[in-house]
Subunit: 363 residues, 4 copies
Amino acid sequence: MSNSIGRLFRVTSFGESHGPVVGVVVDGCPAGLSVDQGTIQRDLDRRRAVGQAGATPRREADAVRILSGMYEGCTTGAPVCMVIDNANVESSNYLPYPRTPRPGHADFTAKIRYGGFNDPRGGGRFSGRITAGFVMAGALARAALGRIGVEVHAHTVAIGEVEAPVCEPTRVRELNRRNALSCCDDRSAESMVQHISEAEARGDSVGGVVECVVLGLPPGVGEPVFSGLESEISHAVFSIPAVKGIEFGGGFALSRLHGSAANDPYEFCGDSVRSVKNDSGGILGGLSTGMPLVLRAAFKPTPSISLPQQTVDLEERTTAELIVRGRHDACIVPRGVVVVESMVACVLCDLCLRRGLIPGVMV
Amino acid sequence: MSNSIGRLFRVTSFGESHGPVVGVVVDGCPAGLSVDQGTIQRDLDRRRAVGQAGATPRREADAVRILSGMYEGCTTGAPVCMVIDNANVESSNYLPYPRTPRPGHADFTAKIRYGGFNDPRGGGRFSGRITAGFVMAGALARAALGRIGVEVHAHTVAIGEVEAPVCEPTRVRELNRRNALSCCDDRSAESMVQHISEAEARGDSVGGVVECVVLGLPPGVGEPVFSGLESEISHAVFSIPAVKGIEFGGGFALSRLHGSAANDPYEFCGDSVRSVKNDSGGILGGLSTGMPLVLRAAFKPTPSISLPQQTVDLEERTTAELIVRGRHDACIVPRGVVVVESMVACVLCDLCLRRGLIPGVMV
Amino acid sequence: MSNSIGRLFRVTSFGESHGPVVGVVVDGCPAGLSVDQGTIQRDLDRRRAVGQAGATPRREADAVRILSGMYEGCTTGAPVCMVIDNANVESSNYLPYPRTPRPGHADFTAKIRYGGFNDPRGGGRFSGRITAGFVMAGALARAALGRIGVEVHAHTVAIGEVEAPVCEPTRVRELNRRNALSCCDDRSAESMVQHISEAEARGDSVGGVVECVVLGLPPGVGEPVFSGLESEISHAVFSIPAVKGIEFGGGFALSRLHGSAANDPYEFCGDSVRSVKNDSGGILGGLSTGMPLVLRAAFKPTPSISLPQQTVDLEERTTAELIVRGRHDACIVPRGVVVVESMVACVLCDLCLRRGLIPGVMV
Amino acid sequence: MSNSIGRLFRVTSFGESHGPVVGVVVDGCPAGLSVDQGTIQRDLDRRRAVGQAGATPRREADAVRILSGMYEGCTTGAPVCMVIDNANVESSNYLPYPRTPRPGHADFTAKIRYGGFNDPRGGGRFSGRITAGFVMAGALARAALGRIGVEVHAHTVAIGEVEAPVCEPTRVRELNRRNALSCCDDRSAESMVQHISEAEARGDSVGGVVECVVLGLPPGVGEPVFSGLESEISHAVFSIPAVKGIEFGGGFALSRLHGSAANDPYEFCGDSVRSVKNDSGGILGGLSTGMPLVLRAAFKPTPSISLPQQTVDLEERTTAELIVRGRHDACIVPRGVVVVESMVACVLCDLCLRRGLIPGVMV
């Protein structure tokens, strides 16, 4: 239950890591949106990240197949079902985990929740692979947002303790695809790669932080009280496995400031109102201010590591040592960049539809 | 739109700061829950926080009135409507703000969103006063959770740069009501009071961090993918005005660790499985682990300050200086403690109902 | 649970027959809608129906009180809470019913459903009195629909076996308020009054049929597959106590025709497409055709009758004879006319909002 | 939008008549439900109805493919995606309809609604073929209901003016599969076949009525006010193309009775309470009484007929004559029987889950 998100742009995720497919149904996508299959594929390819530092050796085409909702190159207004096939599966590694659950993974909690009936192969429904569905949905959302001039761009701002210098929101789109890390600063990217490689060499993993900026969002988007921008975006972003924290604008740092420093004074910029700085991250009262929306998501390190770990044997009811086998990423943060973009895009598409900013039929 | 939250335990908020009432309708509260009016009132009184350092001089009884859904001291299964009256209102101070919006408040964004028709008095629908409704709903949720042994306790862990030492989750309930700050460490509380007072004296304000722990939550609660615990809780907590960040367990600090340090190894504790440490904050795969659930919410400083601020005059279309009048808190963090508890309780009550852990009729 | 209906125009009902109030919260009402309190009251007065043939002798002012969401005579975009007080309650008559449930009422089913905790006074949550909340919500919906030229009118077409002749949809609005029965044909109305009076004199009751027409609805309104017009409207109309059947256009009679007779041929009428007849009731594929929407709702006879009835004594576990006391209507159909209009209006307002036909802010 | 239905047992429909697949995602199906692929296929085969009187000559295997949510023969608690392929498509017949819309079909309304972007081939999203998805979802729902002893059975009670005699609810299951019409009375079935054949021979079509009974439903199921049984069931059943009316128990006939005749007196039957008759159709106050739930759905005649019909030419803006080509059923009522069963089962599964009667994990 609750594999759907969104009220008017409604995304339903399905599929498991080692089942036939991973897929998504998008209901509420406006009719008449011209979406090239290649557009969706480009985002999937960014998520696939073959050859990236720290990326899984699992190799799959991840080629999108559109099963419904498109006709003659345009959305029809009917639900769009999209899938990728799971071609390259090695399930045998996963057989021990229902008995000796991997620390940091959902093996134990899922077993309890689903009475042991959950599919354990490759993490099943809890695999990061299901985010391919998020990306396919996000591609539609971004196409719709693009028609009203709203753009969503994310970048890697930290890997472990390596932090990139601050990047102007407006410059992210030109800088975030220059390296495999999706980091806007090449020098930091090099250090990040090195940090990941060192961990990988030891059989360990690292986490990091993704920052996402939204440009072109007009003021007044959001549905307070319970569907304000922070509420809706955090809801979606925490659906990405491994995210453990989120902050908007100044975020946690704001809590250490005085109001006189934290408040964003207003000014006119030509005919439009803007704030001199943007510590609110483009959101006040759950509503967009018209300034760039800025948020950061903290990813914990990939829980799959090759080092021996302590777990329990649920049959013997003893402590046990575990070596996690199977293919995994030493760092999933760079692959998470497009996933964050996708979820943020889905939320904004939904809220812009609710606000009437995106028409039901694109013409 | 979207003044409701929850799927089975559904909370609908209504009311404005200076309208007749602030209220809430709770639909889906199990029948047969014996709730003393005093229980609700006690939580409201904690939110009211008269006489606290930095608290608003606005004085109101905030006495709960139950308009429906209770009969002979028990919930009936019908929607419970509860209100408090707005007795002590001084609206004239707020008249200038639709024209010269206050920095850090929703004056500007709400005016755009609602075409100028929003009620500006006391911030209207965007006032922190509407959280009284959250607290009344939370009192019902906590009563229901209490019947299955689940407790929600929050405390102030930072005010500005003053941080309290770490407090064991299991000790929060005995320590968090010993001072007006709801801080578990008395010495820190004193420094916090001083920090607030200094800011207040300058006409300034401060922010802070609230930590919330949940005890007694059985493993396997949560509805992944899009209704995992982090998703649902963050959604609710960001509905509290001034919250700009949230993290679970190790949160942002986790992103700087290696997997070998971040993963929580399992062990047996008698017959039950627990983790040796709890950096996941009691959540894996969006599901509860059975360990204490731990989250932290960052509050920005109260945007209402007495110092002169730069804003714009939307009629003259010029920059303008603004002095915010009206009653306000120099720090709303201590009053936010019970509000965080309430929203977390509402979410958990909803998820426990979905999981079948709370029966539809309490007997 | 499920005391709410609608996706964007969201109506939450609360209150019991003998509690402090009966009320409603409307979330999603566009800002800037100028609604006179008198407009709401007029609809409430039509429901109140004092002095009508067969109407309950319960006498109450049923004066609407607006608790939130309005400012300076306009909706603000915030949730609108409206209540009427329950002034004139005589609860003692209802005390036996949890033990000896009234046939045709919800006494037995509600007792099972809520474990005996439901409020039995006056039928509690199952009283027809809660439809006063529907009417208050409907008044807002109709005001919004009126701004785009959509009108909803209902009339009594049958009382028991007395049927009124067919009335052209476009003539309902000028004819349906000419008599207390809301019947468009005065002569039929007289027979209906007589039929009700005869039943009333015997301590019995009668049912009937209400027809509702919607004029001015543009083509293409509705959200198939699961939110087509018939689905959404029937959902709402069956929420009215005593409704046991609904049909659209030709309805059940259509099932006896051949396709060649049932299909509505198209023609041009000036520049616009219309159908020569309208057996589809203005709906094809769940979407409006632009022709008048026509539906009929069957009301069972009021279950409260003064004649002795057979029931069970749930304590003695025997059969028992029951005489229902308390005030009740010998026929609630005429009072149901405005309730049907209200529920249909709420649904159409929701669907027009989803379709973008009603703006989020009325200007 | 709104291709989903249900709150806890959530069915999302996708696919078009001539696209790659027709499918469904079921979210919220309890884990551990052992569902044989053959069970799903048997219901699909009943809907396929090859060789039935009046059935379409379109021949397809309609073989279910399960894409997710099942593992080792059981549901996992993850969303179950199921599809059938569209193998045998002849789209060219449908090309004229966006210009000369077929009377009785959604060609005109869908064109308006989706700005001409809807897929017109085979009726696209508005084809009766999408009900194959309903049937696959229904098979899961029925399996879950079966575990708590709830059964759903439907039968054909009228074809055109040919009506079958009343059948005791408890006898439907043994009688409704004895003939291709799903009619419990063989002699009536013969007359119905003849009636259909005559219409077919003339190039015409006929409608009819399906009755559905639910056995074994315990008392107290339903979620008033807005999710009572009639509301939820009618919502689902009107999603079936061609349904134009629904009634519960005595339905429209009840509106012509006196209360003294319409009320169902209670009696004891051993230890349990039942009503002497069941004119309420097993529902009071939106809640189940424990008696058989009985409803009837009126199907209009198939709008596709071979006779010449009047329509409009939307390009020339003139009246035009239309001959509908393509394969279609002269009567879809017998094929609708399993579809009605399926939708009713989905609703009841949802309501039983909300009520806690079906556990989240089947063991």
